[in-house]
């Protein structure tokens, strides 16, 4: 709860205090199925079936992008977005531009594993001289939770994961990360990679692109860069769906002894 106060305060803070006019931010955007998607596979369960699936900006990345827009508007930072993927991810990058990013980069390669993506991103960070990379805690498709940490190690930057608050002052950073059962505040310095999530900004801070944003996004640069053809270290063999679940056992609200009995003797969980 106290965290909410931190965010509110930071949004009201006087931006004169900061000197981040030249901070270059890169937001990593993963292009994922909408959270309501039914998950199916094709080609002998080797490929995700994209049929009828809506793709969106990974929710964790949307929180990060929104925080980046705050650094842009209040502290004068520039914000680029990047995705490693095929041409089909361009509408997702355009959406990020419509939300307010300045430039988009698509590394033209099929994303195959976390290590390969991290290597491709490392090249983009080095070529672009970014000070701060904002990625997400995990992508909701592969759930790897690995790209940001790998990237930080590849480029020799500091790293904070599960980040729920981030303040930058010059080259100093203060970040809060969620830990099991609480949170921890750390200080570190740029260059920095963070893996963010809800809390970095609140749900109510997220922006739905308006008409003007969408029009402007059409004119903003979306640069396609050739891949470095980084290697993978893992191979996806196949996908499986969870076994279908049996029907629910209903217990009468007036007979809760039966529920206790079932949980104790049948399910053996109490």
């Amino acid at each position: 709860m106290s965290y909410d106060n931190v965010i509110v305060l930071s949004f009201q803070e006087n931006n004169q205090k900061f000197n981040n006019k030249n901070m270059k931010i890169l937001v990593c955007i993963s292009h994922v199925p909408d959270t309501t998607s039914k998950i199916n596979f094709t080609d002998g369960d080797s490929k995700f079936d994209t049929n009828g699936v809506q793709f969106v900006i990974n929710p964790n990345d949307e929180f990060g992008l929104t925080r980046a827009m705050w650094f842009k508007e209040k502290q004068g930072a520039s914000v680029d977005v990047v995705n490693v993927g095929g041409a089909e991810t361009e509408p997702t990058l355009r959406k990020a531009l419509a939300i307010g990013a300045d430039n988009a980069i698509r590394v033209n390669a099929e994303a195959k594993d976390g290590f390969q993506v991290a290597k491709e991103l490392a090249k983009v960070v080095q070529d672009g001289g970014y000070d701060l990379v904002i990625a997400g805690r995990e992508s909701i498709d592969y759930n790897g939770g690995m790209v940001p940490g790998m990237l930080s190690e590849l480029i020799g930057a500091n790293f904070v994961t599960n980040c729920i608050n981030l303040e930058i002052d010059g080259t100093n950073a203060t970040a809060t990360r969620e830990i099991d059962g609480g949170k921890e505040t750390v200080t570190t310095a740029l260059p920095l990679v963070i893996a963010g999530q809800k809390g970095l900004v609140e749900e109510s801070d997220l922006r739905i692109p308006n008409m003007r944003g969408i029009m402007m996004a059409r004119k903003k640069p979306l640069n396609v860069v050739e891949a470095a053809n980084a290697e993978t270290e893992t191979t996806s063999v196949k996908f499986e769906k969870p076994a279908p679940k049996g029907a629910v056992t209903l217990v009468d609200a007036g007979n809760l002894d039966e529920l206790v009995n079932l949980l104790h003797n049948e399910a053996k969980v109490i």
């Binding site: 940490g149 500091n158 203060t174 217990v251 809760l256």
Partner: protein
């Protein structure tokens, strides 16, 4: 060659997940015909690890590691891997282990599979099953590098006891400065965390307002459970963000998950589906949660929950 496992501790005591990853490491070592070495950092008593299949413990004791730090810890584990010539490194999926694993993987030039739920189905190629699409599916993944890092999901493999005992030796790796300094930790020490909990009691918008959470907390207390909530509940500020579970919140993989006044939206279910047994309490028999649950009570939470608390108290008294 051996299998190396990082056994996480807190205030000198091993976490339950440490014993679980030790059990997992033992299963891998048996498949490979080798032994298990554990790395323990500032742990008080490592003898317990033998019971879960560890043959040798490398005891690291260093005040520079009092506070967790991903890069320093990754470097310590890397030095242990090199010392032991380990080919497989097993870690848990606690917040800290998830933080260090990708950093460690790059340091070791190792492929990393996270959220692994079963022992390898094959060791050459090294093949594991992991969850993907937030528990809506599994992905079978082969790790092709010489050294492999495996992140085992909490509560997926379970504890497997052995009769062996472990030898211990002191290990003094170089501890690097990591560039990230902990300033303050804010953690409720008296509460069970969602990550560690065997039982999670979760409530949704059906509870109408934050003033009604007393009975949820009481139910959790009777069960020794952690409390959680649906996303709108934390968005509305009824409960702290740290309790938000689901696809965009914390994952839950408890033995028992009790959902009270939660409809069972796909994003909610995705995040809690890894729980073994699910119970739903909801006034609406058509609520989607009933399709995902093992046990259900169609009824008003304001009647069912207090009654259930009384029944459980009586059950506990009788079984004490």
């Amino acid at each position: 060659m051996s299998v190396l496992v990082y056994t996480e501790s807190e205030n000198g005591k091993f976490k339950k997940t440490a014993l679980e990853v030790a059990s997992y490491a033992k299963a891998v070592a048996d498949q490979l015909g080798t032994t298990v070495t554990a790395v323990a950092v500032n742990a008080d008593d490592t003898s317990e690890l033998g019971k879960y299949g560890v043959d040798k413990v490398l005891n690291v004791s260093n005040s520079g590691l009092d506070k967790f730090n991903a890069k320093s810890y990754a470097s310590v584990i890397k030095q242990a891997v090199e010392k032991e010539d380990a080919k497989v490194v097993v870690v848990s999926q606690t917040a800290d282990s998830k933080y260090l694993a990708p950093v460690l993987a790059v340091g070791l030039n190792a492929g990393y599979a996270s959220n692994v739920v079963e022992a390898p189905s094959n060791t050459a190629p090294f093949t594991v099953k992991r969850t993907a699409f937030t528990n809506k599916a599994f992905n079978v993944t082969a790790i092709n590098t010489d050294v492999k890092v495996v992140g085992v999901s909490n509560n997926a493999f379970g504890l497997v006891e052995n009769t062996a005992s472990a030898t211990a030796e002191d290990f003094s790796p170089t501890v690097e400065d990591s560039g990230v300094t902990v300033q303050s930790v804010d953690k409720a020490t008296d509460k069970v965390t969602i990550a560690d909990a065997e039982i999670v009691v979760s409530a949704g918008r059906g509870l109408k307002g934050p003033e009604n959470w007393g009975m949820v907390e009481e139910l959790a207390e009777v069960l020794g459970a952690a409390t959680a909530c649906s996303k709108p509940v934390s968005d509305l500020g009824w409960r702290p963000h740290s309790e938000h579970v689901g696809q965009t919140g914390k994952p839950v993989a408890s033995n028992l998950y009790i959902a009270i006044g939660i409809s069972g939206a796909i994003q909610h279910l995705a995040g809690i589906n890894a729980s073994k047994v699910k119970v739903v309490v909801n006034t609406d028999p058509e609520a989607p949660f009933f399709k995902a649950a093992d046990y259900g009570v169609v009824g008003d939470a304001f009647e069912v929950v207090p009654a259930l608390i009384e029944k459980l108290k009586a059950f506990k008294a009788a079984n004490a």
